[in-house]
C-alpha cells in the first residue's frame, strides 16, 4: 500500500506537516478557521520529533497486523481491508487509550475534539485522497509511495 515515509535527512523541523494535518482534519478545511474557530491547535496526527539538528515526522505505519486494532475495546479502530488504512471511527471511540499503549511507534496520542475523545493518529487523509502532510511539506521530507508489494 502507499504509505507516508519520512526522509529525516531533509526534515527541517518546520512542523508545517502538523499544520497541514490539522487543517485537513478540520471541519472547515480552512487554516484560519481550523485554528481560530475550531480550536484545533495541538491536534496534529503526526509527531515531529526533534533532536536537533535531526528532526523527523513520525506517524502511523498502517501495520499489517495493527496492535491498535487488536487492542481497541470498542471496535472503533479498524484497518480498511481495501486500502490498508488503519483509522479510527471517531463516533465509536470511548477514549480508553488502549491504542496509545498498543502502538509500537508511539504514533497515537490521546486527543480531544468537541468534548469527545479522539485518538490522534494518521489516517492518510482517507477522506481527501492525498496526505496533506506530504502535499504541504516544503522540503519533500515526506513522501507518499508504494515501497513494497502487498500489505
Amino acid at each position: 500500500m502507499k504509505k507516508v515515509y519520512a526522509r529525516p535527512l531533509w526534515c527541517m523541523n518546520c512542523h508545517l506537516c502538523e499544520v497541514n494535518c490539522i487543517v485537513a482534519h478540520s471541519r472547515s478545511r480552512d487554516l484560519f478557521r481550523a485554528y481560530k474557530r475550531e480550536n484545533l491547535r495541538g491536534t496534529a496526527r503526526v509527531i515531529v520529533e526533534e533532536r536537533l539538528p535531526l528532526s523527523v515526522a513520525v506517524q502511523c505505519r498502517h501495520c499489517d497486523d495493527p496492535a491498535c486494532v487488536a487492542g481497541c475495546i470498542s471496535g472503533a479502530m479498524v484497518k480498511d481491508p481495501a486500502t490498508g488504512i488503519v483509522y479510527c471511527q471517531e463516533d465509536k471511540c470511548v477514549g480508553c487509550w488502549t491504542c496509545v499503549a498498543a502502538c509500537p511507534y508511539g504514533a497515537i496520542q490521546p486527543g480531544e475534539k468537541n468534548g469527545r475523545p479522539l485518538p490522534l493518529k494518521c489516517d492518510l487523509c482517507r477522506e481527501t485522497g492525498e496526505p496533506a502532510c506530504v502535499a504541504g511539506c516544503p522540503n519533500r521530507a515526506l513522501v507518499w509511495e508504494e515501497r513494497r508489494a502487498g500489505a
Binding site: L9, W10, C11, M12, N13, C14, H15, L16, E18, V19, N20, L31, F32, Y35, K36, R41, L52, P53, P138, N139, R140, A141
Partner: protein, 506 residues
C-alpha cells in the same frame, strides 16, 4: 553588544496576530534568533536587532502573518551621509574591525546592461520562430587552431598540445562557489542541475567532495592560491581546469574561510585539518608574471595530459584587456573575467564596493583587444559577475563573451534573498552554512530542479531574442555589437562598449 547601541534596528518584523496561528515555524526557521517564543506565556515575539531580512520566516509562515519592514533612516535623510555610512561607522566604533559583507556590490553604480538595448528584425530580414525552427545554443569552449601562416611543424606540435573543446548546451554556466563557503546541499544542487542541463558547474577553490565525482564531467575544477583540495585525480576528473587569480567581489585580496566552517567533510575535501582557518593568499605565490602563469598553465596541462582546457579567471580591473591578452598568449584556453558585481561568501565591504570595474566594459575591452591582436578566435571568453536575466546574458554575448557564469542568480533560485550575511555561516536558507540544522533545508532534489528550471527559462528566452534578431545560433551573436544600442550613454562609454547610440542606423 554594547550597553548602548547607537543605531536602531535596521528592520522591523511585524506579525499580524489575526493571522498568526502560533505554529512556531518562524521561530524554528529563523537563523539569526530574531523570532522568539515564550512557552510560559504562549507568546511569540521578535528581537528586531537580530533580523537581517533574509525573509525565511516570511516565506515559511503558512498564514502570511509576517512582514518585514525597513526602518526609516536613523537620521534625517542625507544624500551624502547615507544610512550605510552611519551604520558602518557605528559598528566600527564598537568593534574596531574591518567591515565584512557577503554577496555582490550593492552600491548604485551604473548598470550598463540597463543602458543597452537589443535589435530585432523587421521587414528587410526575417525573424525566426524558435518554436518552429532549430535554434542552436550549444557553445564550444576552448582553444581553436591558429589561423594559417604557421611555421613548418608547428601545426603538428600544436595538435599534440591542443586540449579538446568542451560543449555546453546553453551559454550559461554556474560560477565558482566552493564547498565550505556553500553547503554540500547547495553544491550538490548546482552539480546535478549542470549535469542534467548539459552545462558546467564550478567547484570553486575548495575541491570536489568525494561523493560528487559522478558529476565531475560537468565540473570546472578550480586551482586557487590556497590550492585546497587540488590533487591529480581531482584535476583529471574535471572537464575544465580553472586557475583562479581573482574574484570580482574582492579583486586583489585573498580569502578566509573561518575554522567554524571547516567541518570534517569540508576538511577532508580541502585536505586541511578540521577546524583550522582556510586562508587563500591574495596572490599565487608562484605567479608574479605572465611567464609564471604560463608555467602553471602548462603544469596543469601536463598533469592532465592535455585533455583538459585550462581557464584563467581574473577580476575585471582597470588593465583587464592587456592582462587578458597575456593570459591568452600564456596558453590558457579560456579566460574568465569576473566583474565588480560578482558575489562572494565574505569580503571586506570597502573592497567589494569600491574595487574593480563593470563586466560590460571589461568584456568589450577584452574582446576588442584580442580582436585587435588577431587572437580572439583562439580563446574562449567567459564573463561573470552580476547576470540577472537572460537579457543580460544576450547583451554580454553580443559584447563579445562566449558564455557567462552565473552564481548570485543561481543562489536566488535556491532561495537566497541577498541578506548579505553569508560570512556569518547562519544562512537561514541552507546555502551559505555548514550547520546541518540549516543546510538540510535545501533538499538538492528541489534545488537541482529549481536551477534546471532557471536555465531552461533563460535558454528559452535567449532563443526568443536570437530569433527576433534573425539569428539561429548563439555563435552568430558573439561580438555582434551591431545588435546593441546604448541609451543615455556618453561618447566615451559608447566607444568603450563599441556600440552606437539608440537611434543611430547601421
Amino acid at each position: 553588544m554594547p550597553a548602548l547601541s547607537l543605531m536602531p534596528p535596521e528592520f522591523s518584523i511585524v506579525r499580524d496576530e489575526n493571522k498568526c496561528v502560533k505554529c512556531l515555524a518562524c521561530v524554528r526557521q529563523c537563523g539569526f534568533g530574531a523570532q522568539q517564543y515564550d512557552a510560559a506565556d504562549d507568546r511569540l515575539y521578535t528581537i528586531d536587532a537580530n533580523c537581517v531580512n533574509c525573509q525565511r520566516c516570511v516565506s515559511i509562515c503558512p498564514t502570511g502573518a509576517l512582514t518585514i519592514y525597513k526602518n526609516p533612516p536613523p537620521l534625517r535623510p542625507h544624500a551624502y551621509w547615507t544610512e550605510n555610512h552611519l551604520r558602518n561607522i557605528a559598528k566600527q566604533a564598537e568593534t574596531g574591525g574591518v567591515l565584512l559583507t557577503g554577496m555582490g556590490n550593492d552600491q548604485p553604480f551604473p548598470a550598463y546592461f540597463d543602458r543597452l538595448l537589443l535589435n530585432a528584425s523587421q521587414v528587410t530580414n526575417p525573424s525566426i520562430d524558435p518554436l518552429r525552427e532549430p535554434m542552436e545554443l550549444r557553445t564550444y569552449l576552448g582553444r581553436r587552431p591558429e589561423a594559417g601562416g604557421m611555421m613548418e611543424g608547428r601545426e603538428e606540435r600544436q595538435a599534440k598540445t591542443r586540449t579538446p573543446l568542451v560543449p555546453i548546451e546553453t551559454p550559461i554556466m554556474f560560477s565558482a562557489m566552493s564547498y565550505g563557503s556553500i553547503s554540500h546541499e547547495a553544491f550538490t544542487s548546482l552539480a546535478r542541475a549542470a549535469k542534467e542541463f548539459g552545462t558546467m558547474f564550478n567547484t570553486g577553490e575548495g575541491g570536489l567532495p568525494g561523493d560528487l565525482y559522478d558529476y565531475a564531467d560537468h565540473a570546472v575544477v578550480q586551482v586557487a592560491s590556497g590550492r585546497f583540495g587540488v590533487h591529480a585525480d581531482y584535476l583529471n576528473a574535471g572537464r575544465i581546469v580553472e586557475i583562479k587569480i581573482g574574484q570580482g567581489a574582492k579583486p586583489g585580496i585573498g580569502g578566509h574561510l573561518p575554522g567554524e566552517k571547516i567541518t570534517a567533510a569540508v576538511a577532508a575535501t580541502r585536505m586541511i585539518p578540521e577546524g583550522t582557518d582556510a586562508l587563500s593568499p591574495a596572490p599565487h605565490h608562484d605567479i608574479y608574471s605572465i611567464e609564471d602563469l604560463k608555467q602553471l598553465i602548462f603544469t596543469l596541462k601536463e598533469a592532465t595530459r592535455y585533455q583538459k582546457p585550462v581557464s584563467v579567471k581574473i577580476s575585471a580591473v582597470h588593465n583587464v584587456a592587456a592582462i587578458a591578452s597575456g593570459i591568452a598568449r600564456a596558453g590558457a584556453d579560456i579566460i574568465a573575467i569576473d566583474g565588480f558585481r560578482g558575489g562572494t561568501g565574505a569580503a571586506p565591504t570597502m573592497i567589494r564596493d569600491h574595487v574593480g570595474i563593470p563586466i560590460e566594459l571589461a568584456i568589450a575591452a577584452v574582446d576588442q583587444r584580442l580582436r585587435d591582436e588577431g587572437i580572439r578566435n583562439q580563446i574562449s571568453l567567459v564573463a561573470a559577475g552580476g547576470f540577472r536575466s537572460s537579457a543580460d546574458v544576450v547583451k554580454a554575448i553580443a559584447l563579445g563573451a562566449d558564455a557567462v557564469y552565473i552564481a548570485t542568480a543561481a543562489l536566488i533560485a535556491l532561495g537566497c534573498h541577498l541578506c548579505q550575511k553569508c560570512y556569518t555561516g547562519k544562512c537561514s536558507w541552507g546555502i551559505a552554512t555548514q550547520d546541518p540544522y540549516r543546510s538540510r533545508r535545501l533538499n538538492p532534489e528541489i534545488g537541482a530542479e529549481r536551477l534546471y528550471n532557471l536555465l531552461r527559462g533563460w535558454s528559452h528566452e535567449i532563443k526568443e531574442m536570437l530569433g527576433g534578431m534573425g539569428i539561429n545560433s548563439i555563435e552568430s551573436l558573439r561580438g555582434n555589437r551591431l545588435h546593441l544600442r546604448g541609451v543615455g550613454l556618453n561618447e566615451v562609454e559608447l566607444k568603450l562598449l563599441g556600440v552606437k547610440h539608440a537611434g543611430e542606423a547601421m
